[in-house]
Amino acid sequence: MSASTQRTALTLGLLVGIALLLVLVMERMTEPLVARSRAQTLERELAAVLPAPDPARTGDADRWVPDASPDEPDEPDAPRWIERRWLDGRLEAMALSVVAPDGYSGDIELLVGVRADGTLSGVRVLEHRETPGLGDDIERHRSDWITEFDGLSLHTVPARDWAVRRQGGRFDAFTGATITPQAVVGAVHRALRWVERHADALSRAPPP
């Protein structure tokens, strides 16, 4: 390897090193701010998917992280955590943090709100990387599509209808994007079935 080639490689390596350092320092510096704004977004979306609280009565809330249960050791559908809202010691509603792994580009993070009776109180997308202009109509501020779930339950919608219309279901797809809405519909359906399977564990109040 000639000296000039070595120098060239060194220059590029040095530039890459400086660039990495700058990006890392920036990430570190902004971490608290980013974490705070993420938390704010989560609070807002939680309020959006859960039913409006009764102003006359004060409820209670806890966040439950389901561990792999002994009877179902590795359950792929398990939500990452569940925000449960209690009223007079009884489960009133919950919000499940679930991931749709089968989006068009990467995971779609969802928040699924379910009342104690198993009906959906709301669904919102927390994060996704779907195609802008095609798949991003799952965002609430871009279209009403995601509100289609409100009020549905496993009792009112039979299992084979939990799909977009093109695949024989009852949900609309977007022009030019079928995979994205199908992924969301599938994830919501799996969340509801998970809630049904774990109804007992979910309604057991946490130890005080």
């Binding site: 590029l12 660039a19 700058l22 990430e27 701010l33 980013v34």
Partner: protein
């Protein structure tokens, strides 16, 4: 998604060397006027139109992307001019892309931390500034062979020209499509900006088409026509001859590109 603009830097009409002769202030003035008007990136060179059309549905969005592009351009032009001849041809392009990508990553992170709503609203088009051919084009065609001051002035002028057209397009589309100016300021910039919001007429009298993607093309087309009309109406003889120092430089926005 074809977000990579079709114009490669080499296809750009060459302004290969910053004018060598004459005083630097005159040279800077030429660079300034070229970037702002005579060779305006959006109006004349028609570069970087993908983000231009995608985020120009509101003035706040458009100006934010325009400013981010301006800062990226300033950083990349200045650094690349400073690196100048230290860069061997073999690593020139990788190094330029690295500089641009780093600048954009830092800007994106800063916006995520400071203005998360605006960051979410710009979405993928903020990181996609990296692929804006306008920026690599200025680095390749101008900055790498120019003095640092010239490169910085070129970046300021080109970036301001681009941001201004982006802002104008955003303002027009928002006004026609929603009847407001800066209507989403408080949603995107925080409550403090709510005083900027201006509603000129009711939303139900607005033309929704202007907000939709076809509206972007239509408004930009009308804008281009309006800018070029005066010059094309002028009789041909009235045009001043091209300067001898730069024979291939279009004299005014009315001259079509080859």
């Amino acid at each position: 998604m074809s977000t990579v603009p079709s114009t490669v830097p080499s296809a750009e009409p060459v302004r290969s060397h910053p004018p060598q002769a004459s005083q630097s202030s005159a040279r800077w003035r030429t660079t300034m006027m070229d970037g702002l008007w005579h060779r305006n990136a959006a109006l004349v060179q028609l570069l970087g139109l993908c983000p231009l059309l995608a985020v120009s549905h509101s003035l706040v969005n458009a100006l934010a992307l325009g400013l981010a592009t301006l800062v990226t351009l300033l950083v990349s032009n200045t650094l690349i001019a400073a690196l100048g001849r230290h860069l061997h041809d073999a690593i020139r392009l990788p190094a330029q892309v690295l500089v641009i990508a780093t600048a954009v990553t830092l800007i994106e992170r800063a916006m995520l931390a400071g203005l998360p709503a605006l960051h979410a609203s710009l979405g993928v088009f903020l990181p996609l500034i990296v692929t804006n051919c306008l920026i690599l084009g200025r680095a390749e065609a101008f900055a790498r062979r120019a003095p640092i001051a010239d490169a910085a002035i070129d970046a300021l002028a080109t970036g301001t020209g681009f941001a201004a057209v982006l802002g104008l397009l955003g303002a027009l589309r928002e006004l026609i499509g929603r009847g407001t100016v800066l209507g989403d300021a408080s949603a995107l910039l925080g409550e403090a900006a709510s005083g900027l919001e201006l509603r000129l007429f009711a939303a139900d009298q607005a033309l929704l088409l202007a907000l939709l993607p076809p509206g972007a093309f239509i408004v930009l087309g009308l804008l281009l026509a309006a800018v070029r009309a005066p010059a094309s109406l002028r009789p041909r003889k009235a045009r001043p001859p091209a300067r001898s120092t730069e024979p291939d430089r279009p004299v005014s926005p009315s001259v079509p590109r080859p």
